[in-house]
Point group: C2
Chain length 202, copies 2
Amino acid sequence: MYEGPVQDLIDELGRLPGVGPKSAQRIAFHLLAAEPADISRLQEVLQKVKEGVQFCEICGNVSEEATCRICKDTRRDISLVCVVEEPKDVLAVERTREFKGRYHVLGGALDPLSGIGPDQLRIRELLRRIGGDEGGVQVAEVIIATDPNTEGEATATYLVRMLRDFPGLTVTRLASGLPMGGDLEFADELTLGRALSGRRAM
Amino acid sequence: MYEGPVQDLIDELGRLPGVGPKSAQRIAFHLLAAEPADISRLQEVLQKVKEGVQFCEICGNVSEEATCRICKDTRRDISLVCVVEEPKDVLAVERTREFKGRYHVLGGALDPLSGIGPDQLRIRELLRRIGGDEGGVQVAEVIIATDPNTEGEATATYLVRMLRDFPGLTVTRLASGLPMGGDLEFADELTLGRALSGRRAM
C-alpha cells in the first residue's frame, strides 16, 4: 500500500500482538516523525532483549542478574513459594503487598493442544526446589496461583498431584469467588458457584 | 517494576501512540519469546526509517524514489489535484477507486495552538504546483480533502482563499453529509445540518 520502508515498518509492527493494521500505521507515522534518538533507544532495547534477557536461576522470573531482586531479598519468607504462570503474575501478586514469600514462574500453563506439557514448564525445577532446601530452610507451603481458567486449573490439579507426596508440605490454591466491588447479579454462574462452595464462616 | 532491559523495552514501547502499559508489557513478553530473526527484521526497518524516508518531490507522499508511483503513473489525470493532510489520506481516497488525478499531501492541518501555521504545511509547494504547469498541463481542479474537523475546515478555508485568484481553476471540497449505511436518528446535529444544507436534486 505504501512504498518502501514505511510499508515494511507497518508490516513488522502489525505482527506484534494487539497491534492491528490501523495501529501499526499510526505507530509507523509516529516513528517517521520521531527524533532519530527516540528510534535509536527503541533499537537498543530490542538489541538487549535479542541478546538475551536473564531469568532468575531460582524462581525463573526475568532478572537483571543471575538471581532476581525478590529471591535475593533476605527479608522474604523462604518457606513460602507462590507458583505463577508468567512474570506479569509476579507483578500482580506483588501489587497486593500481601505476600512476603518467594515465587516460582512456570513460564505458562499446561495446554496439550498447543503442545505445552509438563516438560515445557518449569515444573521439574519446582520439584527440585521443594525437594531440596531453600537456603537451609524447608519449603512449608506452596501457593498455586495459576490463572482460574481451563489451562490454569489443569496446571493446578497436576501440581497438586506432584506435590502431595512431599512430607510436611502444605499446598494451597488462591480462592475463587466474587470479585471485590462486583455485583452478585452480574457474576457468571461458575464464579458464583465457586463463591458458594468456598463460603467461609464469619 | 521488571528488572533490566525488559522494563526498558516496556517503557520504550509505552511511548508509542496507542500503546498503553498493558499492551507494552504484552508486546515486550512477545518479543522476549520471539526468534532473534524477527527482532532483527524490526530493527532493520527502524534503521531504514531512521535513515530517512523519501517523500515524493511532486506530491509530498512517502515514496521509494524521488517521484512516487502515483505521480509517475502517466494514466492519471494531471489536471486534477486532491489535497489531503497525510499520506494515510491518500490511501483512503485510493481505496475508493473513484479518483484518477494526483495528490498533494500537506503534512497536517492548520493548528495555530500547536504552532502549525501555513509555513509548516506544504502550502507554498501547492501554490507553486498550481501556478506552474504539471508536465505541460494546467491544473483545472483542486479538490480539498482535508478532514471534516476544526483544523481541517480551517485549512480548507485558508486554501480556498489562497486559490481563488488562479484564473480558470475550480476549487471543490469533499461533500459532508450522512455516512452511507448510517442511521438518520443517530447522526449528530452538525452532520445532519451539513447533509440538509448540501441536499441534492434527484
